[in-house]
Amino acid sequence: MTLSGRFVGLLAVGVVPVVLLGELYGEAFGALLGWVGLVVVLVVVDLVVAASPRALAVERVLPARVRLGETVTSTLYLTNTGSRMLRGVVRDAWQPSAGASTTRSRVAIPGGERRAVTIGLTPFRRGERRTERVTVRSFGPLGLAARQTTLRAEGRIRVLPPFNSRRHLPSRLARLRELDGRTSVMVRGQGTEFDSLREYVRGDDVRSIDWRATARHSDVMVRTWRPERDRRVVIVIDTGRTQAARIDDEPRIDTAFESALLLAALATRAGDRVDLVMYDRRLRGRVHGASGPELLSRMVDSMAPVEPDLIEMDWTAVPGLVRQVTTQRSLVVLATAIDSPGISRELMAIVPQLTRNHTVVVTSVTDPDVAAGVLRRGDREEVYRAAASERALLDVARVTTVLKRYGADVLTAAPADLPPALADRYLALKAAGRL
């Protein structure tokens, strides 16, 4: 039960009869009792006549997924199974970060009929957003008091990573196509898989002439090559505590997701097989054996609920994880944070195990503020900050040097630049035939 503003107003209006009767007949107390009694009777009548909110049947229609930043409509169908007209307010209790346009809606549902309550959802946080209850206030005909009931009506929507870096995809795909069949100016490593034979045209590399085939034909024949296909790409995303850090108002893990999505989209078009592992001390998500559009949808689905945990990444388990995925030579991308030799000790310890069998790329987000702070040395504070920035960069450089010495490739860039940089590195490796 709850009271309305109208009830409060009605009660306050009682001042008029109390003053009038008190002034004219000296019956102020009688007037007060009478007025309060009248209002209470009205409220009781209102409550008794109001339709029961328990008679509502609730049905939700909701898309299962939404990409972060997009808006979807959530529809709530309310069926009044009772016979009385239900007038009231409905609150759909979405979590705050589901970004509901409004949580309270006025409804008027005649007995036995159904009405839809539509609200827009613009989630502003990745993951699973949910609502568990619908609260209904059913006002009586006088609008003085309402019956309030909370009904169970679960709803959930999965908010996927935005994949903002997909705007880089067309240009990278174009470059991938350029790689295909570029045999005429063949450089060693442009692609090592035999594709076909064709006639020599002026400008082709004479080293690619297939003399055997030339002997069988009347023309000079050249071999064409294409980039290798069916290579394996294993993306390992660190979901430990260092990934929670925000750089440029984006957590490192989101940048890692963006990079992984762009790389996966590119690699699956290039015919490679992509596997994703998200790990800190336990397996947080895994995508295995998917390709094409299914790969991306499964990746975003498994990424959606993953938030960095406040625990240290266990790198010693990573070689085992990679071995589980494939024993074949593959490109292993480790998306993590390179901060200082102390924090990255475990990473440096396991990289040699991986580089023995695989091509390893370690990606890390660098803070553009740190890089810019190095050259900003106007006053005392800024000089000290520049010194601290230099020290931070030096730490990163030391780890990078060690990792490079162990045979890994290290990629550090600002959040916006990292995904395309990783895609470019992949294309370069592909062009060089090092996959």
Partner: protein, 425 residues
């Protein structure tokens, strides 16, 4: 990219959703204990208040209703049992009314313990007594009372000793003679030897309680004049519930007061204070009658408004929020540590290492090139002297913060010059 699922239509009539809010009946049943407890507490307190209110004690001295030690209820009750009509009066109006309505003989007991009456009222009382022909008993009167009501008697101060006093040889008051001895009085009186008494009344004195310069002091003096009989008695204690049973107190009390058919027991109260019987204006009588109800109504409105605004629209929604860590925090912290401790050397080292690393890559020198080699290349590119460049890059040691800033600026200039020189135009 939201894949919309189609509208699911359930066959048949929809079933109502499961409600989480308990029904009124079940929540009432659950809180039954508390309801019972509150009701019991209310009943208990109302009962207690009713009990204590009924026995609100009357603690006035010589009051008819006071059953305590200082009251006189015992005397009044015994007189009533003896057939005397005892009438209590708390104001002059009541007393005069009682005197007028009394049929037969009447006795008026008057004791202005708290000195409420003024002279006018005393005169009025005296007139009423004279008109009704009542027998007047003054209990511990003040001198001002005596002046008006018993002109032949004067105050004689406190008695000489404690204990009890005897009626004495010359006492010819029946009641006093029967009593014999009574408790020592609070006040004593003596007759004024006025030879030229117009009325020629006679004066009886009993219970000698002291001797003084101006004559003997007595506890009881009766003067009989043409206006009636006036008995002045200084031993009020003898009439109290506490002491009435001792000595001959009871006999004196009954004899003094039970002589006539009616006894008017007049102890002036607060009503005798006022000017013309009208109480002064109070705050309560000045405010209009509707003010209190309106205040009550406003309290109710406030409570209702609290319920209106404060009632929650369903349970609170819970959401786990992710941790937020600013990445540059460690860097900022280190900068502040440098600044706090004035670590010029350490700070400059870091800046120099960074600068040399960048210069090395700008000048396309091998990564492990020494500082001397870098200095030479920089000097060659910028046209500065080698020693000067070396001094900036490694040599000079900052002693103060100003020097740190200066070297930092020179490093920056050097870097810019090299960059300008090495960038192809």
């Amino acid at each position: 990219m939201s894949a919309k699922t189609g509208l699911k239509r359930t066959p048949g009539s929809p079933t109502p959703a499961v409600a989480e809010t308990p029904r009124v009946r079940s929540s009432a049943r659950r809180s039954l204990f508390w309801i019972v407890a509150v009701v019991a507490a209310l009943v208990f307190s109302v009962f207690t208040i009713a009990l204590t209110a009924s026995s609100n004690p009357d603690t006035d001295r010589y009051s008819l209703e006071n059953a305590g030690p200082s009251g006189s209820r015992a005397v009044a009750e015994v007189l009533r049992q003896q057939g005397v009509d005892v009438v209590g009066a708390a104001s002059l109006a009541e007393a005069t009314d009682a005197l007028e309505t009394a049929d037969d003989g009447v006795t008026l007991l008057f004791s202005d313990v708290y000195g409420y009456l003024d002279d006018d009222r005393r005169a009025e009382l005296a007139r009423a007594v004279r008109d009704s022909g009542a027998e007047l008993v003054l209990l511990e009167p003040w001198s001002s009372d005596l002046d008006v009501l018993a002109p032949g008697v004067a105050n004689a101060g406190s008695p000489d000793g404690d204990g009890s006093v005897e009626a004495g040889e010359g006492c010819r008051v029946d009641a006093a003679e029967r009593a014999g001895t009574i408790t020592a009085p609070n006040a004593t009186y003596r007759p004024i030897a006025s030879g030229g008494d117009a009325d020629g009344g006679e004066i009886e004195t009993c219970f000698l309680a002291g001797t003084g310069d101006s004559g003997d002091a007595f506890a009881l003096i009766r003067s009989t004049t043409a206006n009636g009989t006036v008995t002045v008695f200084g031993g009020g204690d003898s009439l109290t519930n506490d002491l009435v049973a001792q000595e001959g107190n009871a006999a004196l009390a009954l004899g003094l007061l039970g002589g006539e058919q009616t006894l008017v027991w007049y102890i002036p109260g607060g009503d005798d204070l006022g000017g013309d019987g009208e109480a002064p204006e109070t705050l309560g009588s000045l405010t209009p009658p509707w003010v209190t109800p309106v205040l009550l109504l406003l309290v109710l409105v406030t409570v209702a408004a609290g319920i209106w605004r404060g009632r929650r629209f369903g349970p609170v929604v819970v959401e786990n929020l992710p941790v937020t860590v600013r990445a540059s925090e460690t860097m900022e912290g280190r900068a502040r540590l440098y600044a706090k401790h004035g670590a010029h050397g350490r700070a400059l080292d870091a800046v120099r290492i960074g600068t040399i690393t960048r210069l090395t890559s700008m000048l396309a020198l091998p990564r492990h090139a020494g500082v001397v080699e870098v200095s030479r290349s920089v000097a060659a590119v910028t046209g500065r002297h080698v020693d000067e460049v070396y001094d900036v890059l490694v040599g000079s040691i900052p002693r103060t913060e100003a020097e740190l800033l200066e070297i930092s600026d020179r490093l920056l200039r050097l870097e810019q010059e090299v960059q300008r020189a090495t960038t192809p135009r």
